[in-house]
């Protein structure tokens, strides 16, 4: 399969070197936000990235977009290494990949009208004439289910769902092949959420997008994603095709995520139990080296193993 976006052994470490007056003292406080993460997005597929708050999902997305500096590792777009490119060299790859954020209100400039927001990509890349830009802006608005009456409005005059549609229209203006959706539906109510997901699905079919869809809701991903990658504390703990994850979760954290999905059947309702880090650490699956295909190993006894076809999990290997 053709990989359009690939993260290879990417880490993000925040170190506390506060300011110039502190540079003499050597006590650095390191926080590892993302620890040696690798995953790849295949062409015209949807990869779901799931994990709890603070598990490093969004950090991964920002690093993939080169909006955050990468401490270690490499990022490939269409098999080109973009890790060390400067802003100028990066500009042509910017057309290829775009991002939609969770907070639709702060992702639109409050001082700009909707049409200005949507034609911003063309201004930055110096494409088309002014008239063409406005026509394309209206086309884009219609594509995301809005119409031209929106062009002269301001972001605060729109509802959350409408704003998110505008964000999507802007992200798609340059006809990218990769879309990173960083929890685009988390702030929306159920109905609007479904509409936005349908919209993304339609656009994916129409434009041949590859989508990295970040979410903490597994039921949203179930309807959308082809593959799911589960992150926990900055590490990828499980990776498999969507149905495989739902049918046969192996890692204790994945199991607890699935357990957290509300049940429709009243007789199955129960008070949820939450598992803590200790439980997860002590229940890491153990495999015998003979049963599984060994993929990679970085700590002493914990590695990433392939337990089934395309089903990877972080496990102890004996």
């Amino acid at each position: 399969m053709n990989k359009v976006l690939e993260l290879k052994n990417v880490s993000k470490i925040y170190s506390e070197t506060k300011n110039i007056t502190n540079f003499l003292s050597k006590n650095e406080d390191n926080f590892v936000a993302v620890d040696n993460v690798s995953f790849s997005l295949e062409s015209k597929k949807v990869l779901g990235l799931v994990g709890e708050s603070g598990s490093g999902k969004s950090t991964c997305a920002l690093m993939a977009m080169k909006l955050l500096d990468i401490t270690e590792g490499e990022i490939f777009v269409n098999n080109n290494n973009i890790t060390n490119l400067n802003l100028q060299e990066l500009k042509k790859y910017r057309k290829e990949m775009q991002i939609v954020f969770q907070d639709s209100y702060s992702s639109l400039d409050p001082m700009m009208t909707i049409s200005k927001i949507i034609i911003e990509p063309f201004i930055i890349h110096k494409l088309h004439s002014t008239n063409e830009r406005n026509e394309i802006a209206i086309d884009l608005l219609e594509k995301v289910g809005l119409n031209k009456t929106y062009t002269n409005r301001y972001p605060h005059e729109l509802s959350g769902g409408e704003r998110q549609r505008v964000s999507i229209a802007r992200a798609l203006a340059l006809k990218p092949s990769i879309l990173v959706a960083d929890e685009p539906t988390s702030a929306l109510d159920v109905c609007v959420k479904a509409q936005v997901i349908n919209l993304l699905q339609d656009l994916q079919d129409e434009m041949g997008l590859s989508i990295l869809f970040i979410s903490h809701e597994l039921n949203v991903l179930r309807s959308l994603a082809d593959n799911i990658t589960v992150m926990y504390r900055g590490r990828v703990v499980e990776e498999a095709p969507t149905e495989q994850i739902f049918a046969n979760p192996i890692h204790p954290y994945t199991k607890s995520l699935l357990d957290a999905i509300p049940k429709l059947d009243p007789s199955l309702r129960k008070r949820r139990t939450f598992i803590d880090d200790n439980y997860i650490q002590s229940n890491i699956p153990i495999f015998n080296l003979n049963d599984v295909k060994f993929v990679s190993k970085d700590h002493s006894d914990i590695g990433f193993v392939e337990v089934d076809n395309n089903h990877f999990v972080e496990a102890k290997v004996t």
């Binding site: 110039i20 909006l67 702060s106 409050p110 930055i124 890349h125 301001y154 802007r170």
Partner: protein, 289 residues
């Protein structure tokens, strides 16, 4: 339905918001009148500001012939206040423009880049805030020989600190917002982001800083004029006249009252108009008030 939706420019709404704000409208008209009076001073006044025509009646109280009375040297106070508006307004506005020109780019750079750039600019600001402006201004004024332009320059280099800090705070608050990240993700350069997104979004602190810089410059001019290194008499300025009036305050109240009123009204009107302008330029307030 679609055809009924009338497309109006954002500027139209800004003007509408300004007009619908009564305080801003009134103060805007007053400010305009004050500026007109300053420009057409020779047409309004009967005597020049330096003519000592009324020495016989010096220190006379306000009357029909001399609305604001006569000062200790026999000059018509009304003429002097009108002419003084020229000096005070020019210095106030020019110094505020200077402050914004220095403070805005430095504040935006400092807020956007952070780190070393921020550190250096903050240390410069600390130097400016530790030194008492009047003493430094006195020294500078003595070095460059006082006068009109050096007062503007001095007020400018002390006024930019406020503008810089206000803009820096706003830029720091906005640069982590997603629309900045979206813009960067689209391939925008840092300069594009600063000029197209961050500075327009800092419009309210810029106006606040501008409006604050005006009275500061006027007061600095008054102080310097009083100490003899500012505007040289007989050219009148309000600060100079207030300081002179204080000497006569207990017996001849009009000498201190009218220049003070002139300064206070101008500052108040500028502030109110600045507030109105700030609200009018913020589209998120559309439809309110």
């Amino acid at each position: 339905m679609e055809n009924q939706y009338k497309i109006r420019s954002p500027f139209f709404y800004a003007v509408m918001r300004l007009i619908s704000n009564r305080a801003a409208l009134v103060s805007g008209v007053l400010l305009f009148l004050i500026v007109l009076m300053a420009i057409f001073a020779p047409l309004i006044t009967t005597t020049s500001y330096e003519e000592q025509k009324f020495l016989m009646n010096s220190l006379a109280f306000p009357s029909q012939a001399h609305w604001f009375g006569i000062d200790d040297l026999g000059r018509d106070l009304f003429s002097r206040i009108i002419y003084g508006a020229r000096v005070s307004l020019t210095i106030g506005f020019a110094a505020a423009v200077c402050s914004v020109f220095i403070g805005l780019p430095l504040g935006a750079l400092s807020g956007f880049y952070g780190g070393k750039v921020d550190w250096i600019i903050m240390r410069i600001i600390e130097v400016f805030s530790v030194v008492p402006p009047l003493i430094a201004a006195l020294l500078l004024a003595a070095l460059v020989d006082g006068g009109f332009f050096s007062i503007i320059f001095i007020a400018g280099i002390f006024g930019w600190v406020q503008v810089c800090l206000l803009v820096r705070a706003q830029v720091m608050a906005f640069k982590e917002k997603e629309f900045i990240r979206s813009s960067l993700a689209l391939g925008a350069s840092p300069m594009y982001v600063i000029f197209v997104h961050l500075i327009p979004n800092s419009i309210s602190p810029i106006i606040v800083g501008f409006v604050q810089a005006i009275p500061l410059a006027m007061m600095l001019e008054a102080g310097l004029s009083f100490l003899g290194v500012g505007i040289q008499p007989p050219l009148p300025s309000w600060g100079q006249m207030i300081n002179l009036g204080i000497n006569f305050m207990f017996f001849y109240w009009h000498m201190a009252l009218f220049p003070t009123l002139a300064l206070a009204i101008t500052v108040l009107v500028t502030t109110l108009f600045g507030d109105g302008l700030r609200d009018a330029l913020d589209p998120t307030l559309k439809g309110k008030s």
